[in-house]
Symmetry: none
DNA sequence: CGGTAAACGAGACGGTACGTCCAGTCTTATT
DNA sequence: AATAAGACTGGACGTACCGTCTCGTTTACCG
């Protein structure tokens, strides 16, 4: 969890594990109270009962810290088997939307992505800590749909991977855009309509 | 373009129109050079050859200024008639992707959205200056498809509006997510695949 | 008094004169309360009701600030005509000793001299702000003694100057050393003994 | 030399004697390189190849450490018999001046005196480690002069002590002030003039 | 000669101050 | 009244040291 690792040798006083947990927790708390742009390293340190130096010894900056702090939220995403591909899609859409309702995720997610547009290392960190955690849901959903016979098994490995990436971008992008850019609720109705579009396409008869 | 209007009375020296243009242009330039988070009001003022006071007389802060500065980029989006709904979708996807390749848009867009999660007025400004400019492309595209007979006319006005919003979130969200979050290129191949998914749905035979 | 002068042009808001006075006064106050080594720029700023930036805009650092702050104390030194050279010497010794009893001078003087051993600019500043203010007392005392006929007029200008410098170093050095290094009181008795030594020399019969 | 003594019991590993020497030597080295105010405990520890803890186990702080480090320099002062009181005075003046030319003494001496103005324990330490080492030269010089018949034997013990203290403050103070405050060289010429003043007094015919 | 108590190196820790930077406001004189 | 210039308050930044602490390791003495 702590990303700037201690120097190779294992001499000297070891880093406090409690401090790590306290810092990440304090970061989430500060995100809720203050939002991304008003969150300060000093404030996080104070909330965590830790010196500023301790923060900087472990994280290079605000962005890195926040990525790690919100990453755990994405671990909570699950894909309970709801019996059909459509139900699974609706389920994951609503779960992801619920996550984006949480103020700490809401304010942090776009901010770190914005920051990452000029910082390759941060982009990699986001991919590892957040994106990959979401993408596994897509892969799991496809596997289930294939077992149910709702989707064909794809022979071409790389084509399959491309399709999964596409679907991931469409699902995650649509939910994020609806929630944060359009600032409209992602409710059951919208999830149903989106699922219909995703599965049936625009030219299909609407699922009414 | 200048959002904080001059006080009612029209006595005294009028605001310089050249200053407005110079400031917005300097803002875009600074976004390219520095990115959102390192852009400062003082730097913009210096680039524009203008005093800081002049900036603050016209914009409330960095977010508002940047929204206005990048808004004009979205005016360049057009929807040339490419002869079919699929072609039109591919065209708009590629145009939007090209816009997101521009560093000033890339770094600014997510940042102001992130900022807007805790600022209702900013959200409204974004909607008016950016989102609405994009959404008209969806409406125009639908109109054309209906004229071509590719899509039915929708009797229920509000249902039609909901559908347009959905499609807008799917298209814009997918492109943004692919480009900024997944950090993968939005090229002709991806646009074709996405268009196939959007029109035909996930369960349809792929358009290969 | 303010040593880092504003940039040449006289455009823009002028520097606050009250701030200068408040800062120097706050510096002396802080010296009394905290001593040289515990005095901090932030504390001085807070006492003066001024932002730290304002301090740094005017003084390069703690040393420069303190030199200017204590310089005014040396303006208070005077040489009232006590009727004889011996009385004048005793008078100036006691005055200087009284100055060194003041905690702000006591703690600051040696500190800035110590600092100046590795800083030529600081040394020049001390000379101008402090040393020269003291040295004029020696010159004035000699002039009076010459008028009274207690000392001969010296024909050789440069020899006279060297002698004045020597006497200055002896008087100031002895008082400072007694007061700060030996940490013994400079009282009337000591002043009398010192004056006797200075005027009559070590081999003369003591003036008891 | 090491001032914070080990706890009473003499079990366990004894303190390293080499460490003591290495630390004091490293301190002098750091004084030369960095001066008093930029010298840090961590740097001294690193130069001495020793952990910071080892420093703090032996000295309470920077001031105490530096006093001990420069104290040995004052042991080098000697009073070779030059045949007359005047020659002895000139000799000691030049020796002391040579000491003050050494950068480690130059930067440290005034600094620790400044520090001691608010620290009684430090003052005592300076007196013991430095001042007393100098004062014995005065006592020795007087004894010789008395043996030569240049100075009378003083019957009153306490008056004799007071006179010795006075002379010490005058000699040491004048040299320090000339060297560090006036920042002028203490050369043979100055030493001769000073000795003339000290022995013959201001009103005596100059020794030309 | 093996146990033990203290010294030791390494480095993390809570603090404090640093000197810089930027935000946003203000005070000038000028246009 | 708007402008350019620049000083102002306030606050966060990231760094450097301080002096303390907690480790694992070493080393002399003492039983």
């Amino acid at each position: 969890m702590c990303r700037t690792p201690p120097p190779a040798g294992r001499k000297g006083r070891p880093r406090s594990l409690e401090a790590d947990a306290a810092i990440l927790s304090a970061t989430r708390e500060a995100l809720v109270d203050l939002g991304w742009s008003k969150l300060t390293m000093g404030d996080v340190a104070a909330r965590a009962g830790v010196a500023k130096t301790t923060l900087y010894r472990r994280w290079a900056g605000k962005s890195e810290l926040v990525v790690d702090a919100v990453a755990v939220l994405f671990d909570e995403l699950e894909l309970p088997d709801l019996g059909s591909l459509a139900a699974d899609v609706r389920g994951v859409v609503l779960q992801f939307a619920a996550l984006l309702e949480r103020p700490e995720a809401r304010t942090a997610l776009m901010a770190v992505v914005a920051e990452s547009t000029r910082d390759e290392a941060l982009r990699a960190r986001i991919r590892h800590a957040i994106v990959d955690r979401q993408k596994r849901l897509v892969l799991e959903g496809r596997r289930r749909a294939q077992e149910r016979g709702e989707l064909p098994y794809e022979a071409d490995e790389s084509a399959a991977s491309r399709t999964a990436d596409l679907i991931f971008d469409v699902v995650a992008g649509a939910v994020v855009h609806r929630s944060l850019v359009s600032a409209e609720p992602v409710d059951g109705e919208w999830a149903r309509a989106f699922t219909g579009l995703l599965l049936g396409g625009l030219t299909a008869p609407s699922p009414g």
